[in-house]
Structures are given as structure tokens and as C-alpha cells.
């Protein structure tokens, strides 16, 4: 297991250093999420009380849609010069490729959230009264679940002709239970309601993450053989 994690880190650090150099994907993700926030800030009147109800949904909307941009790129870049075959012919476990991609995508989406969520609060003139640690926990667990499933489906759809279109079609229905739980938990935490209510949603999200992580981890090898 240690060697799988070590190889995963090598792959993730290659992807991240590549991204730091080119800033192609992260640039597009930040611009996209900021534009979505900007458009919604015009659509809703920030002085209206309804804004409070919209913010938890918007947090996840910008995460998922900007994240899909990054997920699409994550395996397509491996098709350049057929580098994926190079990885597959290396003496590493196929699941370390998956874990490496999960790690790189997670850090990329987290970096985008670090910019876009404060921008969201700023443009909607939202004052944060909730517990910041709980908010972070909800965001991290929700994002992780999204990336776990998204990375797997990105690998699956990368071989298809219209992978950019196929990924959201496959991903969004699978994400619905996670997103329902994430939006509810975010609303509870942001509105500073009883944390106990958020905990039950967090349990559901954690179970989703673990279940899909285990399934994707073991099934990834079969996707790779077909690519």
C-alpha cells in the first residue's frame, strides 16, 4: 500500500508541477467560477433575504462545474503521445494512477475554491456567522466525493469521441445524493443551526466517499485495460 501511495504522489506531483508551469486548467477554472458568481450576483439582489438560501447551492454549483473542466483535462493530457500507455507499462499498480489523479484533481479544485468561495461571499455581501471549521469539513468531504467519482468517470470517458460532453452526463446523476447532502450540510453550517443535523448529512457524505473510493480503486484496473 505504501508503494501505491508513493507512486500516486509521483504522478500527482508531475500533474501539479505541469499545472504550475502552464496554468492552463486552473486559469480556466478560476475564470469560469468567478464569472458564474458574477452573473448570479446580478441575477439575485444581495439585499434580499433569499440570498442566504441560494449561497449553499452556489458553493457546490461553482465547485462542480469548474471542477468538470479540470476533470476533463486530467486524462486527456495523458493521451498526448500516448503517455497513459507509458504509465501502464511502468511497474506500478494501476490504482496508483487513479489515486495520483484524485490527489492532483482534489488539490486543483481546492485551490479554485479558495479563490471562488471568498469571491462568492464578497459579491453577495454575505457575512459568515457559522463555524469555519465545520464549513471546511463539509467542503472537503463533499469535494473529495465529487473528485473520487469524477476522476473515475473522466478516465472512463477519456477514450470516447465526445468526452467533454459525456463526462457531465455520466457524472451529474451519480453525484446527486452527494450534492443533496453537501448543500444541506452547508446550509446548516452557514446558518449556524444545530450541528447535530449537519453531522448526519456528513455521515452520509463520508459513507458515499468511502463506498465510491473502494469501488473506483478496484475497478480502475479494468478501465485501464480497455484504454
Amino acid at each position: 500500500m505504501m508503494s501505491i501511495l508513493k507512486d500516486a504522489w509521483i504522478i500527482a506531483s508531475k500533474d501539479l508541477s505541469n499545472e504550475i508551469k502552464t496554468k492552463q486548467t486552473i486559469g480556466m477554472m478560476v475564470i469560469f467560477s468567478s464569472l458564474v458568481v458574477l452573473i448570479f450576483s446580478f441575477a439575485f439582489d444581495p439585499t434580499n433575504n433569499m440570498v442566504k438560501a441560494v449561497i449553499p447551492g452556489l458553493v457546490w454549483l461553482i465547485t462542480v462545474f469548474s471542477g468538470i473542466l479540470g476533470l476533463n483535462r486530467s486524462f486527456l493530457s495523458e493521451h498526448e503521445n500516448d503517455a497513459l500507455t507509458g504509465l501502464r507499462s511502468a511497474p506500478i499498480d494501476p490504482s496508483s494512477i487513479y489515486l495520483g489523479k484524485v490527489l492532483a484533481n482534489f488539490l486543483l479544485v481546492t485551490a479554485v475554491q479558495l479563490v471562488s468561495i471568498p469571491v462568492l461571499f464578497l459579491l453577495f455581501d454575505y457575512r459568515f456567522f457559522g463555524k469555519i471549521s465545520w464549513f471546511f469539513l463539509v467542503v472537503v468531504i463533499g469535494t473529495l466525493g465529487f473528485i473520487i467519482v469524477g476522476t473515475f468517470l473522466a478516465a472512463l470517458s477519456a477514450n470516447a469521441k465526445n468526452s467533454e460532453m459525456l463526462l457531465p452526463v455520466l457524472l451529474l446523476p451519480l453525484l446527486s445524493p452527494l450534492m443533496i447532502a453537501a448543500v444541506q450540510a452547508t446550509r446548516i453550517v452557514l446558518e449556524n443551526e444545530t450541528i447535530g443535523d449537519a453531522v448526519s448529512w456528513l455521515r452520509l457524505m463520508s459513507a458515499y466517499d468511502l463506498l465510491f473510493l473502494a469501488a473506483c480503486f478496484f475497478l480502475f484496473e479494468f478501465i485501464m485495460e480497455g484504454s
Binding site: I10, I11, D82, G86, R88, P91
Partner: protein
């Protein structure tokens, strides 16, 4: 000096893709320090044969033995000992030659990586370009770097799929020198090639793959003339 014994042995390897039988009962051995060329017409199954041997595809049936030991599915040990040069370079365009080699070197757990990568870059003539992203490289430069990538972990078996494609005369001579040097040090080499000149110059033995089956094998070792080699190949491909 050639060592004796089978480095790689394929027994009755069959591969079906969909309902098409691509490889039919392939039985082949590669001795230690031997260069074996697999030749055949387009669509004969040469690349599938390579992919099955490297572990990129699972054979439908049959066994692969490495040094007399049966190879298990997705064996990391097998992959560690095989250097695979495919049709594509498997390199990352945004990374420099040194970064590409260091990345693959880490995956192959190569010791003293920095020194070894720099030495190989000198050997393939890319040392001066070591820090430039490879996206602007020509096909020949990419192929040189791909060769360096394959040699980095010191594999016991080299599997080269049309390695001379896109190389200029100087690079062909360099590659042939590297291949012959590797053979001298005991590395077994399996080459897929359409280039009869290179097959005749390098290979100790040639095998013809036709319609997914090894139909014939012939010992070359520099004793067979080009005309004789072509005549033999054509006769085997036509099945006469």
C-alpha cells in the same frame, strides 16, 4: 559473448479482441543476449503481440515465462524488467527531457537518477536540450528521448516497436550501436520492424507473424543476405 537460457518464453498465447482471434497459439522464446526480430505484414497482430507480452493486454489464454518463472497478471516484476518502446514516445510535451526522464525514473525506482538521466541524455545527443520543454522537438529528437526513457531502468528485455521510424542516418547508427552494446551486456531484445536492412544488420533470428500466428523463424546472425531474407519473408507471408 552470448549467454544461454530462455529469458522470455511465450507458450500457446492467444488473444481475442471482440469476436476476432488476433493472436493464435503463439509459442516463441527469446534467449538471453539475443536479438529477435518479429516481422510481418500490416494487421498481422504484431502490436497486439507486443502489448500482451508487456502486460498492457491480458492474453485470452496461454502462459508467459520470464527467466523460467510463470508471470502473473499485471506483474510489476515483469514490467520492471521490460523496457517497452512503442509507436508513440509516451513523453509529456510540457516537461523537459530531464523532467521526463526523472518522472519515469522515479516510477521505475531508478537509483542515482539524476546522474543516470544526464548520462543517457548525453548518449542520445540531447544533453544540450535537457531543460527545454519537448513540445518543440522534432520526431527524431522525440524518438531519441524515448530510447533514453526505455534504457533508464536498465531493463533485461528490450521490446522495440519499429524503433528506427523517423530517425535520421546518424540517429539510426546511434540506435544500432546502443542495441548492439545492450546485447553484448546480456540484454535480450525483441524488435518489430518493417525495415529489412536493420533486421539484417541487427537480428540474430527473425520470426514471421502472419494472421496472428508465427509461421516461421530463421536464424540470421549476419550470414543471410538481404535478397535471401526478402525471398524467405515473401514466401512465408504468401504461405507458399
Amino acid at each position: 559473448m552470448k549467454e544461454l537460457g530462455n529469458m522470455l518464453e511465450l507458450r500457446n498465447m492467444t488473444k481475442t479482441l471482440g469476436d476476432k482471434l488476433v493472436l493464435r497459439n503463439i509459442t516463441l522464446t527469446l534467449e538471453k543476449g539475443e536479438i529477435l526480430a518479429v516481422i510481418g505484414p500490416n494487421g498481422a497482430g504484431k502490436s497486439t503481440f507486443f502489448k500482451c507480452t508487456v502486460g498492457l493486454l491480458q492474453p485470452t489464454s496461454g502462459e508467459i515465462y520470464l527467466n523460467g518463472k510463470l508471470v502473473k497478471k499485471n506483474s510489476a516484476e515483469m514490467k520492471q524488467r521490460i523496457g517497452f518502446l512503442g509507436h508513440e514516445s509516451f513523453l509529456y510535451n510540457n516537461l523537459s527531457p530531464l523532467e521526463n526522464l526523472k518522472f519515469y525514473g522515479k516510477l521505475y525506482k531508478v537509483k542515482d537518477l539524476e546522474t543516470k538521466a544526464n548520462e543517457l541524455l548525453k548518449e542520445v545527443g540531447l544533453y544540450l536540450f535537457r531543460d527545454i520543454p519537448i513540445r518543440s522537438f522534432s520526431r527524431g529528437m522525440m524518438q531519441r528521448l524515448a530510447i533514453a526513457r526505455v534504457l533508464l531502468p536498465d531493463p533485461e528485455i528490450l521490446m522495440l516497436d519499429e524503433p528506427h521510424t523517423g530517425l535520421d542516418q546518424e540517429a539510426v547508427a546511434l540506435l544500432n550501436t546502443i542495441i548492439l552494446k545492450k546485447r553484448e551486456s546480456g540484454t535480450s531484445i525483441l524488435i518489430i520492424s518493417h525495415d529489412f536492412e536493420q533486421v539484417q544488420a541487427l537480428a540474430d533470428r527473425a520470426a514471421v507473424l502472419r494472421k496472428g500466428k508465427i509461421v516461421s523463424a530463421k536464424r540470421l546472425g549476419g550470414e543471410v543476405s538481404m535478397a535471401e531474407l526478402k525471398q524467405w519473408y515473401e514466401a512465408e507471408v504468401k504461405g507458399t
